[in-house]
């Protein structure tokens, strides 16, 4: 029984007077992928923001590999090994692709040189290499999402948080993105994935599934044990 890599207990997160997450616990074992599903407004993205520290936990704790990160400021969590790819193809639009990638490595403090960072990123996402001097804002939607992913990966996170990586992307690009996520799984990175496309979630990418509704956990278990029916009962068309 391995101790969880990421352990969230009893998290409560609020936006002003609106409590979005009431009491959510989530554990992630090393090398596994946990899918966080539920309809919009259920609190999934909010939970990710809490894990990465952009929103404070009004209650509850957060531990990474036994280390208590509950009160660590957000910009330091990257160097501890947590990286979030926010929803919506978010990159530094007025900076070049190359600069975007180098920024991903900002928290690494020169542990490896610029060339290595770029080579590593281009190896994973070859489509970015020929466009490395272009402004990120000029890239297509799919390429921006790839860049966002590549940028987060530069910091070599132990836990990668992905907020709807497929949102707003054409099906072909979605395939590419998921192929990339599969590769990351194979490399042993632990992932928390927020996703609306349920078939992707059950199609083998997720080891565990957590269904959230109105800020609370409704259902949780191994993906293998849950059926599409059970999930749709709680999710979108519920």
């Amino acid at each position: 029984m391995t101790a969880p890599l990421l352990d969230v207990q009893g998290a409560r997160i609020a936006y002003g007077d609106l409590t979005a997450v009431w009491d959510v616990s989530l554990t992630l074992r090393a090398g596994t992928t946990c899918a966080l599903v539920g309809r919009n407004g259920a609190g999934k993205s909010t939970l990710l923001l809490g894990i990465v520290g952009l929103l404070p936990l009004k209650a509850g704790t957060l531990e990474l590999d036994g280390e208590d990160l509950t009160h660590v400021p957000s910009h330091r969590r990257t160097s501890r090994g947590i990286a979030l790819v926010p929803e919506g193809k978010r990159v530094f639009r007025d900076m070049t692709v190359r600069e975007n990638l180098l920024l991903g490595g900002f928290s690494r403090r020169g542990r490896s040189g610029e060339t290595q960072i770029l080579e590593g990123a281009f190896a994973r996402f070859p489509a970015l290499a020929p466009r490395q001097d272009e402004r990120a804002g000029a890239l297509s939607g799919g390429q921006q999402q790839m860049l966002a992913l590549a940028q987060a990966l530069v910091s070599e996170p132990r836990v990668l948080l992905l907020d709807e990586p497929a949102s707003g992307l054409a099906p072909a690009i979605v395939e590419e993105v998921y192929a990339a996520i599969e590769d990351l799984k194979a490399e042993g990175i632990s992932i928390v994935l927020v996703e609306q496309e349920l078939d992707k979630v059950l199609g083998g990418i997720a080891d565990d599934v957590v269904l959230v509704d109105s800020g609370r956990v409704v259902l949780a278990g191994a993906a293998a044990d849950l059926s599409l029916e059970q999930l749709t009962a709680g999710a979108s068309l519920g």
Binding site: V52, L54, P73, S74, H75, R76, T78, S79, A83, L84, P86, R90, V91, F92, R93, D94, M95, E99, L102, L103, G104, F106, S107, Q151, A152, S155
Partner: protein, 287 residues
């Protein structure tokens, strides 16, 4: 040609102020109204240290760097950090407040009399390219250009510069990638403060050390930025020199009274027609 040199020298001052504004603007989106007062403090410092206390210039410049840096951080902590929305009205009011406070403190310490601070170099004008220019003016021009180039390199070629550009591009994303956005902002205030006070020691030698030195420069630094582009270091240089040239050429060929008026009309025209400035990539947020 002498007029051109004079214009460049005056323009150098404006460029320096514009660069000072830019350091903070491009790292945090805040327009620090109080920046020119740091120049004023540098000037008063050089009067106090060199004329009154007889200390060597090098020491004064060093002291200026330290004091300016510290004061910059203090300003950020007291007047910027507590604000909820840093890019909005609050910062306008507080930085104006800081500007007034600094002038007030200087007034209490040194009084309203303008003082002369002698240049440490020669006072003999040189003849270059057919025009006469005082060595002090030449030095100011060189300092402005050097500063502009140095800041540009810092912004474009260093990790720190990249991080600070990222933090104005998308603050949240920058935090997610490990950039300590707050420290960058405080650092920018410190850098701007240090640079401005240090250069201010030189400026005092040209303009005289007077507590009102900052007031006029606020506006003219803004003109330089508007002409050259908010957020752009090369733009600050181009805008500053252009403003200085236009001003002195107007004074020479049209009339003394018209020099500032011309710049004002130019400012209005630029704001109406090309709000982004000649080289600027960013406009001050349009609401």
């Amino acid at each position: 040609m002498t007029v051109v040199w004079a214009g460049l020298a005056t323009g150098a001052l404006y460029a320096i102020v514009a660069l000072g504004f830019n350091i903070v603007l491009s790292a945090s989106g805040v327009f620090n109204f109080a920046a020119p007062q740091f120049l004023m403090l540098g000037a008063m410092l050089s009067y106090q240290g060199v004329v009154a206390d007889g200390l060597p210039y090098v020491l004064i410049i060093f002291a200026g760097l330290m004091a300016g840096g510290l004061l910059g951080v203090v300003e950020e902590v007291l007047a910027i950090r507590p604000l909820k929305d840093v890019r909005g009205h609050g910062a306008l009011v507080t930085t104006v407040g800081v500007s007034v406070v600094l002038e007030g403190i200087a007034l209490i310490i040194w009084g309203s009399q303008a003082r002369v601070v002698p240049f440490f170099g020669s006072e003999e004008p040189l003849t270059i390219l057919g025009g006469r220019v005082a060595p002090l003016d030449l030095m100011l021009i060189v300092v402005a250009v050097t500063l502009g180039v140095a800041l540009w390199l810092l912004s474009e070629r260093t990790r720190l510069g990249m991080a600070s550009r990222a933090s104005t591009s998308d603050r949240e994303l920058a935090v997610l990638r490990g950039v300590d956005v707050r420290a960058i902002r405080a650092g920018a205030f410190a850098l701007a403060g240090a640079v401005l006070v240090a250069v201010g020691t030189l400026v005092g030698m040209k303009l005289g050390a007077s507590v009102t030195l900052g007031g006029d420069l606020v506006v003219l630094g803004f003109v330089a930025l508007a002409l050259g582009g908010f957020g752009s270091y090369p733009g600050a240089l181009v805008g500053g020199f252009a403003a200085g040239l236009i001003q002195l050429l107007t004074a020479r060929y049209i009339g003394d009274d018209y020099q500032l008026v011309t710049l004002y009309i130019l400012l209005l025209a630029v704001l109406l027609v090309i709000p982004g400035g000649l080289l600027g990539q960013r406009k001050l947020r349009h609401v």
